[in-house]
Symmetry: C2
Subunit: 465 residues, 2 copies
């Protein structure tokens, strides 16, 4: 953190790396205007001032260094505190040539700006009180969001929904602490100012809210990283074909809009705004008896990591009775995971026969991975399984492991307080745990913080944010 | 070109594709403001108008669709004709999440904007008289520029330097035509209003200027595409090591500035702002007698394509006499190309011995490709060879094949006029060729144009420009 000097003027490329129509270079700090003014001229090559311009205005001009025109640019100025960082800031929109981007950065570095650390713009926003810490973290989550739900959760957190909840919890807890400490002040006199029953109710209420937040992390984690789905089945069942079919569909949807092809991670797809992450089954050993192997080989690993297990089989290759046995054995292993039965390789001729053959499995989905048949039915099934796990867009959902951890610590401390109350422990002992819980909650929003924490949070950001 | 409807409102991502701190989405057209206003709200979720704001101002707000907040954004408005395209334009600076970029594009597409064609923003700028055609073409060159010189040439062209030259030529030619046509009007009377000698001088002057421009294309082409350099030599001479050493150096320089690693093309390097393109020698057959093969194998191909031929040899493996023979044979083949002799694998012990051994070759460069020794000397040599071909930053240099072609056509026509003058051909015959030359020059700046031409020019642009 010693590298972060909030009074330096920092500069970075803010747009994605690459040759493009335009690129944006961003500066923030006390000298943001003057660093640019050194090189900023009108089209007629007369010096142009930025300092005397109004905030939030855009100025066309040329950047000239030693009589060489680097570019014709649009310069937008933001005067602190009315900027993202809270400091004087400048955004330069230049032609998206890699050469020009490089030259402009060099120029500003040579006249006193320094390269921004990852996340340093947002850290300044935090240090200047424009965002609290959990909001700042949400900025990175928002940029990384790749599904409607992860986007909404990050957006809500960035806009302060989660912070407000934590602030309210702290206020309740401070009220509670005040009552306890009041009692403490008069402990000599053995007077209980705080009604113990009221205290017990209040702490139970606070614990309940925190508990709900802690539990939401299960869902939150899945939202952020995708719902892990394992596809298991015999080698000839068509697992790779199914995976490719799902991925192709996803890419086709995304690439409908030119210029926005998604950086797809090999095995992630988004269905109805929900991200699913398929777990690699490449390591599965090929054996004709998949059941025999399930207890010992990679399939077990896949199942262990999956929230949803898709059991895929070749509908021509197995009788209903054998399938029943296989599924029963499978069920012994899948624990809390959801099981989806999928009969593959159906065709027009045998469709109704198959449905008769497997009619003891009413939840069975019949598909042809190769011919993209009924893939939508399978997709809807996957989405519905997630829906049943309940997520409400307006719920506050914890997606950040650091927050979940702090909440768990606070919860633990408050349980001790609760036990203490029941055991009639003296107020001064309870106060210690309360203070600890307050600190943990304060760390979430950054009311309580330290350099190492900030360091570990902001180094995960991209440069330029 | 039927796809280009200048009264549609177009939208595109203007920044490079990818996840980043910020991304910019650009709209242009009569409905640019209203398309955005449909979804634009204040932080407190009250509708915000753009139409009533001043041009060149930036407005913070949220983009909301069906109660879902898509993003908090900065919206910059440009009111036509004071915009890049000349039309009402909007730039939306959003969080650089791929998901958000996609959602915003979808939103604007659904409310009446359409996806911009490649180069369509710049084409509108041309159609609205903000740029002439050669300036518009320079925008694409500027974005693609990857060296100081290609950048400067594109910049000069974009700023109208080349256009002014062409305009001046046309004016001279029109003056000339006026004189000829005056003569034509009075031809019945057999009076020569235009002094034939003055005419001859004027046309010679115009031809000279055009000739110089045509010739500059040799250099211009090299600036744009890099100077082709072939490295030839026996298989054990260290050709790949040398190439890798040169490329590594180049990458190291570029990656000094974080976030700006260049998209290096495998065999291009920039030295002192000059781009060199190394010609693949992978296909060279391995034979112990490179000279014997030179006439017949790939080496000849490499030499034919090269402006500079680097002849590399292992300094331990050849005597001065043999080298002399090899070089003499090589010289028979290299034609106009420049030859650079490079002794490789020198070390401290044998350095002075080698220099004695090869003292009949004073221009020889002694390097160790493996140990990065004297690589700078070789680089300076390459740059100096380019410098001797003379290029002056203020010269007008033609880098565009279309322009070179039009100039050549105009030149040809004017030679015919010149011959006609000498042969005392009647004015009405000369006028035809003059008109043709005028048309060719007009096509460069777009004074004379057609849909197919525009189509072929702008489809080479990136989307969003």
């Amino acid at each position: 953190m010693t590298n972060y000097q909030p009074n330096d003027t920092i500069v970075a490329l803010a747009t994605a790396h690459g040759s493009s129509a335009i690129a944006v270079i961003r500066l923030s700090g006390p000298n943001a205007f003057s660093v640019v003014e050194d090189y900023f001229y009108s089209k007629e090559q007369k010096r142009k001032s930025l300092t005397d311009k109004k905030s939030h205005t855009v100025h066309f001009g040329t950047i000239i260094h030693q009589d060489i025109i680097i570019d014709e640019v649009l310069v937008t100025i933001f005067k602190g505190p009315n900027s993202y960082t809270g400091q004087d800031s400048v955004e330069i929109s230049c032609h998206g040539s890699l050469f020009i981007q490089q030259q402009l950065l060099k120029l500003f570095l040579s006249s006193g700006a320094r390269m921004a650390q990852p996340g340093e713009f947002t850290m300044r926003a935090f240090l200047n009180g424009k965002l609290d810490l959990s909001q700042a973290e949400a900025v990175a989550d928002l940029i990384a969001s790749n599904s409607a739900i992860s986007h909404q959760v990050a957006m809500q957190q960035m806009r302060g929904g989660f912070s407000n909840k934590i602030r309210l919890l702290r206020e309740n807890l401070i009220d509670f602490a005040a009552l306890i400490e009041l009692e403490l002040d008069f402990s000599e006199e053995d007077v209980e100012f705080a009604n113990r029953n009221d205290l017990k109710n209040l702490i139970a209420k606070i614990i309940a809210v925190i508990g709900k937040l802690v539990n939401s992390f299960d869902v939150g984690n899945v939202i952020k990283n995708g719902i892990p789905v394992g596809i298991v089945g015999k080698p000839n069942a068509g697992k790779s074909t199914l995976l490719n079919t799902l991925l192709d569909d996803d890419r086709a949807i995304v690439s409908d809009i030119p210029g926005t092809t998604r950086d797809t991670i090999e095995d992630e797809i988004t269905i109805d705004g929900v991200l699913f992450r398929f777990i690699d089954t490449a390591g599965l050993r090929t054996t004709s008896d998949v059941i025999e192997q399930i207890g010992v080989n990679k399939a077990l690993e896949v199942i262990r990591k999956s929230a949803i297990v898709v059991y895929l089989f070749d509908s021509h290759e197995i009788s209903s009775g054998d399938l029943k046995m296989e599924i029963d054995m499978l069920k012994d292993h899948i624990g809390d995971s959801q099981l989806v039965l999928v009969a593959n390789k159906i065709d027009v001729e045998n469709d109704s026969d198959l449905r008769k053959e497997f009619n003891q499995f009413p939840e069975m989905i019949y598909i042809s991975a190769k011919h993209h048949k009924n893939i939508d039915v399978l997709k809807q099934k996957l989405v519905s399984l997630f829906d049943t796990r309940t997520i409400n867009a307006t719920d506050t959902i914890v997606t950040n492991a650091r927050h979940a951890n702090a909440l768990r610590n606070a919860e633990k401390a408050l349980y001790k307080v609760s036990e203490g109350l029941n055991g009639n422990i003296a107020g001064d002992l309870l106060a210690l745990d309360i203070r600890y819980a307050l600190e943990e909650l304060g760390a979430i929003t950054g009311q309580v913080t330290n350099e190492d924490l900030l360091d570990s949070i902001f180094t995960r950001f991209c440069i330029g944010k």
